[in-house]
């Protein structure tokens, strides 16, 4: 499971075409999909996360690396599914009702996917009922709720209440995030985790899965 430096650099530098080509080459050389992911892609996204934490990378760089990661994963996903590979965890994510913003949510999704999680994206303006349905359908380990607006962050609370009322609260961990959200608010509404940034969300998700 040796690290492929060129592929690692392509992800860190956000070079989509290079990432696609290099993954193809690794597969053609007989490297197992899971080895490519665990040996190169996940470490590359960890490096991106670290650069972001160190403020050497910012939102544009995070997006470019996320796109390169997505391109690299495209040919690997069907192979993983066929091999019955188990992801690091299953996540359902969405922006809560009344809120149409998705840049932050999409960044979190791209970082989670880059860290080996399988993510089901419900999009924006997601009602509590749709979150409940998605939990029943996909049986995720984690639910990620996003909101950008002060007026919509309250929908996180009603979503958690709906999940509790449906008898599903004990079956999942819930993470919340978004510009107006903070640790105390997350605690007050009964969330299990709060991510300050997209990279922070990965650490929180890893912790939640490990204790689930």
């Amino acid at each position: 499971m040796a690290r492929c430096e060129a592929l690692f650099d392509a992800i860190v530098d956000g070079k989509i075409a290079d990432a696609q080509t290099l993954v193809g080459e690794r597969l053609a050389a007989g490297e197992a999909p899971m080895d490519i992911i665990a040996g190169t892609l996940i470490p590359a996204m960890d490096e991106v996360g670290q650069l972001f934490q160190d403020e050497e990378y910012f939102v544009p760089e995070l997006m470019m690396s996320g796109r390169a990661m997505k391109a690299a994963m495209a040919p690997l996903r069907p192979l993983l599914a066929a091999a019955g590979a188990v992801p690091a965890g299953v996540v359902v994510a969405g922006t809560v009702k009344g809120d149409l913003h998705d840049i932050g949510k999409n960044l979190v999704i791209s970082m989670l996917e880059g860290s080996g999680f399988k993510v089901i994206d419900l999009g924006t303006d997601v009602t509590p009922a749709r979150f409940v349905d998605a939990i029943r359908t996909h049986q995720p380990n984690i639910l990620c709720l996003s909101a950008l607006l002060t007026v919509t962050m309250l929908a996180m609370k009603s979503t958690i209440e709906a999940i509790t009322a449906a008898g599903l609260r004990d079956s999942i961990k819930i993470m919340v995030g978004g510009a107006p959200v903070h640790e105390k608010f997350a605690r007050d509404i009964g969330a299990d985790g709060y991510g300050v940034t997209a990279t922070d969300a990965v650490s929180v998700a890893r912790d939640l899965v490990s204790v689930a």
């Binding site: 956000g14 403020e55 050497e56 910012f58 939102v59 544009p60 760089e61 997006m63 470019m64 796109r67 009702k97 009344g98 809120d99 149409l100 913003h101 840049i103 999409n106 303006d125 607006l149 002060t150 007026v151 510009a179 107006p180 903070h182 300050v196 940034t197």
Partner: protein, 425 residues
């Protein structure tokens, strides 16, 4: 040209604060521009509170659904600034021929061009660019929502084959009729009673509110906000080409306006691009200095060389790291001074930038204290911020960004009363 500039006590108060002199009282702005306003529902609640004429409030900025703060409410609040907006709004239609519209149970007035349909799938309200319902809608408000958001109307982008011209539609020279309207509106605002705050020419450099082109029937170029962020990294040559033209066009239009109104304008908003996030920034200072600062410097350089206008820059979030570069570029005023973001401690900001940068905002937190605190919490925070920011001028009271929908009226009133208390009643 060169309209006389009458100066009454309120306008003088603002001018003193802008000149970093201690004013007679702390000046106040609400509704001066599209980032210092109040949601239409809040404006309606305040009109009720102050017992003003019961009439529907005009939605003067439909994207964020801001309400027009008319002269009677300005007087009741004690506002020292008079706004001058371009007559065409962000969705590209004129703010004229007002008609009733029911907005979440509240009777409001919207311009004739405010044409909407309901999306049968989601129940959300769709709005159309230039009021043209034959075009694809450019904005969406969720069912029971409070604002519109841009609908991204852009296909796949090939970053290797881009034409800056595609992102420059709408950046044109003002017509004589538009200049006549601006001149008339500035003349009407230039009574001497209040400082004139103008939002009249779009000189924004990469403001994501404008990137999607919600005023355009069929926008070309990079219109997806995520793609725009990537563009700043992947193709700075294209971004420079766009910014060059925006500034060229802006200076030309401002010169023509200045030839008509002279120094009647006190404050000019130049750009609303956000550089800060809640805890960090959208780019490094190095990127700011190479990609944005030269363009701000050219724009502000022209303004300062040719007018007495003060330049107003909006940038949300943790923006302090950019302030030195902004000051060097000729930016006089920063807004909204988001003290709730990382690295934006009010006392540190005042100590570090005293006499060099005017803080227009920062008066109360609109993410936590104003919408969710008690009136006592609001009073305490407003008085604390005034004590920190007011000494020696360089501060115009405003909340941190627009007062949001669902903010309790008693909290907004507590904010207004606390400023009055600070000003000695």
């Amino acid at each position: 040209m060169s309209a006389p500039k009458p100066i009454g006590p309120r306008r003088q108060r603002v001018l003193d604060a802008l000149a970093h002199r201690t004013p007679d009282k702390l000046p106040v702005d609400f509704g001066g521009c599209a980032v210092t306003g109040m949601h239409v529902s809040v404006v309606a609640a305040l009109r009720d509170h102050y017992g003003l004429d019961r009439r529907p409030v005009k939605v003067c900025e439909p994207y964020q659904m801001l309400g027009l703060i008319e002269a009677d409410l300005r007087e009741a609040i004690g506002i020292d600034v008079a706004p001058v907006f371009g007559r065409t709004n962000m969705f590209g239609f004129d703010n004229t021929n007002w008609r009733p519209w029911l907005f979440n149970g509240l009777d409001v007035l919207v311009p004739e061009g405010f044409r909407t349909t309901i999306d049968p799938e989601t129940g959300s309200t769709l709005i159309y660019p230039r009021g043209d319902t034959t075009a694809r809608p450019s904005g969406r408000m969720p069912k029971d929502g409070f604002f519109f958001d841009a609908i991204i109307r852009q296909g796949e982008i090939d970053f290797d084959h881009l034409d800056a011209e595609d992102n420059l539609e709408g950046y044109t020279l003002l017509t004589e009729a538009q200049l006549d309207a601006i001149e008339a509106d500035i003349a009407a605002a230039n009574t001497g009673e209040q400082a004139v705050f103008a939002s009249i020419v779009n000189t924004a450099l990469g403001d994501i509110a404008f990137v999607p082109g919600i005023d355009l029937t069929d926008p070309r170029g990079v219109r997806d906000v995520a793609d725009w962020y990537v563009l700043t990294k992947a193709r700075p040559d294209i971004v420079h080409a766009i910014f060059d033209r925006v500034v060229d066009n802006g200076i030309e239009n401002l010169a023509r306006i200045h030839a008509r109104v002279g120094d009647a304008i006190d404050v000019l908003i130049i750009c609303g691009t956000d550089f800060g996030t809640q805890t960090s920034a959208f780019c490094s200072v190095k990127t700011f200095n190479s990609l944005w600062q030269p363009h701000y410097a050219r724009l502000c350089g022209w303004i300062h060389a040719n007018t007495t206008w003060k330049t107003f820059k909006h940038s949300c979030g943790s923006s302090e790291r950019f302030f030195e570069s902004m000051i060097a570029a000729g930016i006089d005023i920063i807004n909204p001074v988001q003290c709730s973001a990382s690295g934006m401690d009010p006392q540190m900001l005042k100590d570090r930038y005293r006499g060099r940068l005017v803080f227009w905002g920062g008066g109360v937190d609109t993410q936590e204290t104003l919408p969710f605190g008690t009136p006592g919490d609001v009073r305490r925070q407003v008085l604390e911020r005034c004590e920190i920011f007011a000494p020696g001028g360089g501060f115009v009271f405003n909340a941190i960004h627009n007062v949001q929908a669902m903010t309790p009226a008693e909290n907004v009133v507590a904010m207004i009363e606390a400023v009055r208390e600070f000003n000695g009643g």
